[in-house]
Amino acid sequence: MFLINCPFCGERDQSEFSSGGEAHIVRPKQPTELSDDEWAEYLFMRKNIKGIQFERWNHAHGCRKWFNAVRDTSNDKILSVYKMGEKPPLNYK
């Protein structure tokens, strides 16, 4: 079970959080302008990487805030957390 460092509350047990999948997928500003394929790309396509992955977490049973985390999915180490709207750390690719 992970220990997750909520950027608002500090280190907490994973059971307090819910995962929100891949991060930095921005909802298109003008969905009506998109073709079916472009909309499907936003709606369904996710990377599911083995290695460094940027993902969303919600401190659901805590401050209820959403934030982003950088996790190495091969060993589950969370390398960094940052607030929504902040730029992802540059040292991970």
């Binding site: 220990l3 921005v26 909802r27 298109p28 009506t32 499907a40 969303r56 659901a60 209820r64 959403w66």
Partner: protein, 1000 residues
């Protein structure tokens, strides 16, 4: 009765005699015994029958790895426990144990016939045999297999014992209280680190604690004496917690570990009462030291499974720790030095023994010592067969060829009453691999070792492949200093003398003149798989170790292959001609040893199983005989049976009353979200399909919420309380998810919106009064409120006081009747309800539950999200196109409503169904077809809601049907098990299409 207790030790208290029953017969042991040591002291080796061939089996080991000595404890229906390892179970007064997997008894077992037909039941027997004829599977094969499957008996009544969970946090956790674990714990604790040391045994000390060989000394003392002193020292350390009888079950990521502590299993019945039996420790440790030691390997030769054949080191422990000898004429069969310690110890106690050693020769302190004592050693020899049915009585040995691939010369027959085997040692890398660590293979002594240690986890001692004491202590001290970044000097001058093993020879499957097919060389004792089975699997094309394991079931018994996995791997590697290191291992999964369900569940049983939410009116419902329905965590009144009514009759009565006069529903469980902020209207515009900007203050509107994929997600009525303040209601089950989804959009997609969401579900209680007389009842409750249609029309909201308490009243309807929902702060909910009931008496105001609510809304064709929808229904599929705004540029899910798939004409669509026989009520979930004769039958859809309407006096149903929108008036068929029901597709609204009743 024979007495094999020949040695006095400090661990057995011979002043405290303990009586116990085994297979119905009474025996005696002493305090300090395990069930296994007490049985051996009574000369009992035979403790069970093997799983497949029902061969007699004896105690093999003295610990967690035991494959054979598993027994059923107790006989009470609620307290019996199967598959308990006799080698771990501490003896207590009144213990009742019995052997498993044998009938009528362990000495004469009918299933023993399987041993003689064993050539007919090879690996994969079940897969191969029970294939034909196909029809036999269900009626003949499966019941027969089930009869013979399984070990032991489960309790049939609820467990009366108490279990507990506890969370703890430590700087350092040390797993294993042997010599390396003790050193690690001492170093950590003395350096001011909060440390926890756990060990599964009753006392600390591992295998060193009973070590008494003169050639192994620390600081001029016997190693056991030195260690006892260390244990005394660490017990004084204030920041070290020691938990014995505690075993780590699982090692999860981020150093989160589960440990099981046994608190009462060693106590007599009367002392167990009202105490916690087992506690599950949930441990977070900054650093973890794994010092789990190693276990001895058996050797694989013909008939290596007879009672009386044990692991060599276990014979040593039974002798020097429990004071019990496993025989009087013992042969030790080994490929390494450790059996010599056993031999010397036996010799000192006057037990005759000889050694058969695979190695061509060997030289070390221990071997010299054995030779000087005159112990007979057969070097370069191998055991080729053993004899004796219920217990070994003799064996044959032969000389090994130069390359070790075959035997040469003549057989030598040796008599014995016990055989100790030692195939070397397997480091217990379970914890390391469970935590995600990788393994390396060391060819020299054929062991898997932790590949690398991470910054927060390390393996020390023999689980790291360090076997002699000098190596163990030196390396442990160095590694712990580095690992904890400390400079402990306690062991700087410790002087260790020990015997060094110089010679090694490993042969996984020992050679034999008899063809393999005619031998019984067991690898997995508990699941009865042999070397022959492994080779057969390879011959049949299995290559991956994971496949061979499953095909032969090697390592899949309750002992999880602690003794067998290495030999299986070795034989596969040898046969396939590959290096063992490249083969990999099977996965080491938690738990390390079986856990009781009680431990896992802890206190969360009975009424603590799940959180229960009750409305503030709950007590009234209970007093008025409501039957309850679980909706999520909520308890909702389902119906209120009167005078012995069944559910159908109660629902018919309630439904009729609600339409004829008045009904009242506890609607408190509906989700309520308070929405405030200057952008609240814009926010609602984006999350609902319809337009919200023009909703006037004091008005209510029904909204449908979609997922981004265009599918209906939730629905409910939202009220505009003031300019920037709305109250949203959601479905009961969807409340939490809706809030979290809305928060997600607010925080991540639209952070620019000034909107604040607060869940107020629990803050307000809601009484919903409907029916033609509801206005009169409202008038009695709120005499000053103008209830005229002009002042208070349908879909509007008023505030008024009930005895000085503020109420929010919405005129909204889920039943199609004139209807009011009164919201009040929850602490007044119960009073509000009682006042409503009182005011409604003269109008036969009838409380109704969820079932009647469902029926009433179905008459009106109102959907229930989650019942008539299943995450694949668009608004259009529900014939609710009217609620989707054409003007709005965007809302959640809008773009998906014209994807190629969502605009298909032949999607499943919501329709009404009327049965040709108006008395016939359809089953919800029933399939719908148009032609029962076609094969395969074409499924068109299914029934989602179905009721008998007392108001229409006929059966009505809602269903989703392919292209349903175009099918009105068409005949369809619902095929049931014993009949076909004819139905006609109808409109979804069955009652009052003109909505006249809303303003009645």
């Amino acid at each position: 009765m024979p007495n094999y207790r020949i040695n006095k030790t400090e661990y057995i208290d011979e002043t405290k005699r303990v009586s116990f029953k085994y297979d119905g017969k009474t025996y005696f042991g002493y305090e300090g015994d395990t069930l296994a040591s007490a049985l051996l002291a009574n000369g009992i080796h035979l403790v069970g029958r093997s799983f497949k061939y029902h061969r007699p089996r004896g105690i093999v080991s003295c610990g967690a790895e035991e494959p054979n000595a598993i027994c059923q404890i107790g006989s009470k229906k609620d307290l019996t426990e199967p598959n308990v390892r006799a080698t771990e179970l501490e003896l207590y007064e009144g213990l009742e144990a019995s052997s498993q997997n044998c009938w009528p008894n362990v000495k004469f077992d009918i299933g023993g016939i399987n041993n003689f037909i064993s050539p007919l039941i090879p690996a994969g027997f079940y897969y191969k045999t029970f294939m034909w004829p196909k029809s036999f599977w269900k009626k003949v094969y499966e019941p027969l297999i089930r009869l013979s499957a399984g070990l032991g008996k489960s309790p049939t009544e609820p467990d009366p014992d108490i279990y507990d969970h506890k969370y703890v946090h430590y700087d350092v956790l040390v797993i294993g209280g042997g010599v390396s674990g003790i050193i690690a714990a001492k170093m950590a604790a003395k350096n001011n680190l909060k440390t926890l040391l756990v060990d599964d045994k009753k006392i600390l000390g591992g295998s060193t604690i009973y070590q008494n060989n003169e050639s192994i000394k620390i600081d001029d003392k016997l190693s056991s004496e030195w260690l006892k002193n260390e244990i005394q020292e660490i017990k004084k350390l204030s920041n070290l917690t020691i938990k014995t009888r505690t075993s780590i079950a699982a090692y999860h990521g981020y150093n989160f570990l589960l440990a099981k502590e046994n608190l009462t299993d060693h106590l007599p019945e009367e002392k167990k009462k009202n105490k916690i039996r087992q506690r599950l420790w949930k441990i977070r440790a900054k650093k973890v030291v794994i010092a789990t030691g190693s276990i001895e390997r058996p050797l694989v030769f013909n008939n290596n499974d007879r009672p009386g054949i044990l692991l060599s080191n276990s014979i040593n422990k039974y002798l020097d720790y429990y004071g019990v000898t496993c025989g009087e004429n013992i042969i030790l069969f080994t490929n390494n030095d450790s059996a010599y310690e056993t031999s010397i110890s036996l010799h000192k106690k006057g037990i005759k023994n000889i050694i058969v050693d695979l190695r061509k020769s060997a030289s070390s302190e221990l071997i010299k010592q054995a030779e000087s004592l005159g112990i007979k050693i057969y070097f370069n020899h191998v055991v080729t067969n053993t004899f004796g049915y219920r217990k070994i009585n003799s064996l044959e040995i032969m000389k090994l060829s130069e390359d070790g691939n075959t035997t040469v010369g003549n057989k030598i027959r040796l008599s014995c009453d016990c055989l100790g085997m030692s195939g070397g040692w397997t480091p217990m890398v379970h914890m390391h691999t469970q935590s995600g660590g990788k393994l390396d293979f060391r060819d020299e002594d054929q062991v898997f070792l932790p590949k690398e240690n991470s910054e927060d986890q390390i393996s020390v001692g023999s689980c790291n492949g360090d076997f002699d004491l000098e190596n163990i202590i030196d390396k442990t001290v160095n590694k712990i200093n580095k690992f904890l970044d400390i400079d402990n000097q306690d062991y700087q001058d410790t002087n260790i003398i020990c015997s060094k093993e110089n010679d090694k020879r490993n042969i996984w499957l020992l050679p034999n003149k008899i063809p393999l097919g005619k031998t019984k060389c067991f690898i997995d004792f508990q699941n009865d798989s042999t070397a022959k089975d492994i080779k057969l699997a390879l011959k049949e094309g299995f290559r991956s170790i994971e496949h061979v394991k499953r095909y032969t079931t090697t390592g899949m018994a309750t002992d999880q292959g602690k003794l067998s996995n290495m030999h299986a791997l070795g034989i596969i590697a040898d046969t396939a001609g590959v290096k063992m290191g490249t083969l990999g291992t099977t996965t080491f999964r938690p738990p390390f040893t079986p856990l009781t369900f009680g431990t896992l569940v802890g206190r969360n049983v009975g009424k603590f199983f799940e959180v229960v939410r009750k409305t503030s009116m709950h007590e009234w419902h209970v007093e008025n005989n409501a039957e309850f329905e679980n909706v999520g965590q909520w308890k909702r009144p389902w119906y209120y049976p009167k005078n012995g009514e069944n559910m159908h009759d109660a629902v018919q009565r309630e439904s009729k009353a609600a339409r004829d006069s008045a009904g009242i529903l506890d609607a408190s469980t509906l989700g309520k979200i308070d929405i405030q902020g200057t952008d609240a209207s814009e926010f609602l515009n984006r999350v609902y399909t319809n337009a919200w900007s023009k909703l006037a203050i004091g008005k209510c509107r029904y909204g449908l919420m979609l997922n981004e994929d265009g599918m209906v997600y939730d629905d409910g009525v939202t009220t505009r309380i003031s300019e920037n303040h709305y109250l949203m209601t959601t479905t009961t089950g969807g409340a939490a998810n809706v809030l979290s989804k809305l928060e997600d959009y607010l925080q991540t997609e639209w952070p620019e919106l000034d909107v604040y969401l607060t869940s107020v579900t629990d803050h307000y209680s809601t009484a919903s009064i409907c029916g033609p007389n509801s206005k009169k009842i409202l008038n009695k409750l709120f005499p000053n409120l103008d209830l005229s249609d002009e002042n208070f029309p349908h879909m509007s909201f008023k505030e008024d006081k009930l005895k000085n308490i503020n109420c929010r009243i919405m005129r909204i309807s889920f039943t199609g009747e004139l209807s009011y929902e009164i919201n009040i702060e929850s602490k007044y909910g119960h009073s509000l309800w009682k006042m409503c009931i009182e005011a409604g008496k003269e109008f036969n105001l009838t409380p109704y539950g969820t079932e009647t609510m469902h029926l009433l809304r179905a008459e009106k064709g109102f959907i229930i999200v989650g019942q008539d929808t299943d995450g694949t229904m668009t608004p259009s599929d529900l014939q609710m196109d009217w609620i989707v705004s054409k003007k709005k540029y965007d809302f959640i899910g809008k773009r998906s409503l014209y994807r190629s798939d969502t605009i298909r004409e032949d999607r499943k669509q919501l329709v009404g169904l009327l049965t040709d026989d108006p008395k016939e009520i359809l089953e919800e979930g029933a399939q719908i077809v148009s032609d029962v004769k076609s094969k395969p039958i074409d499924m068109l859809g299914h029934v989602t809601s179905s009721y008998f309407s007392p108001n229409l006096n006929k059966s009505i149903a809602l269903a989703v049907v392919r292209s349903g929108k175009t099918m009105k008036g068409q005949k369809l068929i619902i095929p049931m098990e014993n009949k076909n029901i004819n139905v006609t597709v109808s409109d979804t609204i069955f009652l009052d299409k003109e909505n006249k009743r809303l303003n009645a």
